[in-house]
Symmetry: C2
């Protein structure tokens, strides 16, 4: 493992996530919930790193409100590795802060940026890909992991790959042509057919020097801010500097703030990873293993009559859920809210959250 | 009202009813529940009789388990007017017992037999029809109220009418040709087209002498039993006689045990009564008044997005029910059970109850 002694994992864990409402709440966002098994998504993300990154080389970037709960859920990660932002300012700020702090602690650091709230079934393949990505990153590339599409999703961003990268890599690696925002249905169909488009997983691997250089070039305000903040990070001035500078940062993603126009960007297209962003109730049907009628009962006592391709998600196993003549439906049953939603309209859950905010029904948020 | 001083209402109130599970329960059957408004169906049935039958001329036939609750719900009806059966034995026994007891109390009694768990929107028309029915019954007829079909229901029995009845009635009255069990879809379509078939409402009007004569002729065992029981009814021997004879009675309906082969049977076909037997969750959609999308939220806080012709029935107004992309669905949300059912399959709720019995999940019954 000598090759990997300067490698770090940076878990991005500050998000809110309204698409899994009513289970995901303001106080208890998605990554802090045991959505798929008895571990929370955040805990699973940490566990997935075992035997690759020791806890002292795992950093967590989060926001004040979530930090305490995260430290409870993953006490093995040292407290100083929790980088707490005063407020969310997009993934560009997350990445910039983590890279700058890491560089001060280990000038030869390489980092893998990993979302805290995704699902990956094939952990061995994940380790293999991250290992390969570090090898590519050593050559100076900003590396991203792409997910080989299995259907024409309009819920994910895409990455268009170009020519294969020269080098002695055991896994195919390509240069990146373009980062693409969520497409419409027709474009997604086209992307699927081309075979050279991947879903953007939001996972990145690079040397801290290379990403910091690109940030300096493309996002000078962010670059200036994070170098001041990182200089004060392990000093008593941290709080003051952080609070005086942080709020002026623009909300920007690393994808479109930096990667899109960076020079040496590579992609490892990953098929068979069993990946999902767990981004909607609909996606749970992909992640969890349905019965022969396509149904899933998660923590629910479900009596299914003439019911197909439906998800029943409860927080009370004593409650009996009976469905009759129900197809392609998502049922989410919490203490104070019942959601019944056609699977292909699961993204509208966000509209519900907006509606509740607008009508000040705070207790359901 | 001199014409009506010997008229009585007999409310049949002993039924169970599994088709409105999970709200209708073993301990709390349909007629004892405030399904449609703040009154229970039984209370609404009693209220509907105001200004026609004074409470002392209303009888209630029920079973032991329900009697206490009924007396609580309608205390204005004298205790001696609650006729309590040891166990349900079909409507033939209900009618026979009530007629025999009434005859002992008032030898010139005429009675209107009324189910306790039906809905009637147009109370004035109901009174008008019952009044007319008593006039027809005075001529010696066994009179039944038929409901003019508005769609080809396969959930109701039908009555085929024959020629118009001679007489000075202000409302059209016909002889009955035949009582018909629930038909299949094709037959129901045919019945609807003929225009001379009515739904069997289970409401009857007759002189006690006439129904008792028919029972004697067609159901001699029942006739013998009820004359012994009624002779002892207002004596200390009632319980003993009742318990020794009642359980041997056959379970039989008045429709097919007596009416089908009786000689002088007349029908008043009623259109516009706004009648429903409230016999399934689906029927609630007919009874309650839906919003412009065809949705009904009964005791429920319902946020409907792209939702049509659906019923949300809850017992907790604090709970938020959100539906997205839901059509023709029934949602019933009780403390321990959640039912989600395609409207046109609402009759399968009975299968669920059977399933729960078979699997000894008593707590949900």
């Amino acid at each position: 493992m000598n090759d990997f002694e300067h490698t770090y994992a940076v878990i991005m864990a500050g998000g809110g996530g309204t698409r899994l409402w009513p289970v995901s709440r303001k106080e208890r966002p998605k990554q802090l919930l045991p959505l798929l098994d008895d571990k929370t998504l955040f805990q699973s993300t940490v566990t997935r790193l075992e035997n690759f990154f020791p806890p002292e080389r795992i950093l967590v970037v989060t926001v004040t409100e979530q930090a305490n709960e995260m430290q409870k859920q993953a006490p093995e990660i040292p407290t100083k590795n929790y980088l707490i932002e005063p407020a969310p300012r997009g993934t560009a700020s997350v990445v910039g802060l983590a890279a700058a702090v890491l560089k001060k602690r280990d000038s030869d650091a390489m980092m893998a940026v990993l979302p805290s709230d995704h699902f990956i079934r094939n952990r061995d393949l994940f380790h293999y890909l991250i290992r390969t990505a570090f090898q590519v990153a050593k050559k100076g590339y900003l590396v991203t992991l792409g997910i080989t599409p299995t259907y024409p999703s309009t819920a994910y961003g895409y990455i268009h790959q170009g020519e294969a990268l020269d080098g002695e890599f055991k896994y195919p690696v390509y240069k990146v042509k373009q980062f693409i925002e969520k497409p419409d249905e027709k474009t997604a169909q086209k992307f699927l057919r081309t075979g050279d488009h991947s879903w953007n997983s939001g996972m990145f691997v690079w040397h801290v020097d290379n990403i910091l250089k690109e940030i300096e070039k493309q996002m000078p305000q962010l670059s200036g801010t994070i170098s001041k903040i990182s200089a004060s990070w392990d000093t008593p001035q941290r709080e003051d500097i952080l609070n005086s500078l942080w709020y002026d940062l623009k909300n920007e993603t690393i994808d479109f703030g930096v990667m899109e126009n960076a020079e040496m960007v590579a992609i490892l297209p990953a098929g068979g990873l069993g990946w999902s962003d767990v981004g909607s109730w609909n996606s749970l049907i992909e992640v969890l293993l349905p019965d022969m009628n396509g149904n899933i009962a998660q923590n629910a006592q479900h009596l299914a009559i003439d019911t197909h391709n439906s998800l029943v998600y409860s927080n009370d196993y004593e409650r009996l859920v009976v469905t009759i003549g129900v197809d392609d439906m998502v049922l989410v049953d919490t203490g104070d809210v019942l959601l019944v939603c056609k699977s292909d309209q699961a993204q509208k859950v966000r509209d519900v959250v907006q509606h509740l905010k607008k009508h000040r029904q705070e207790k359901y948020l």
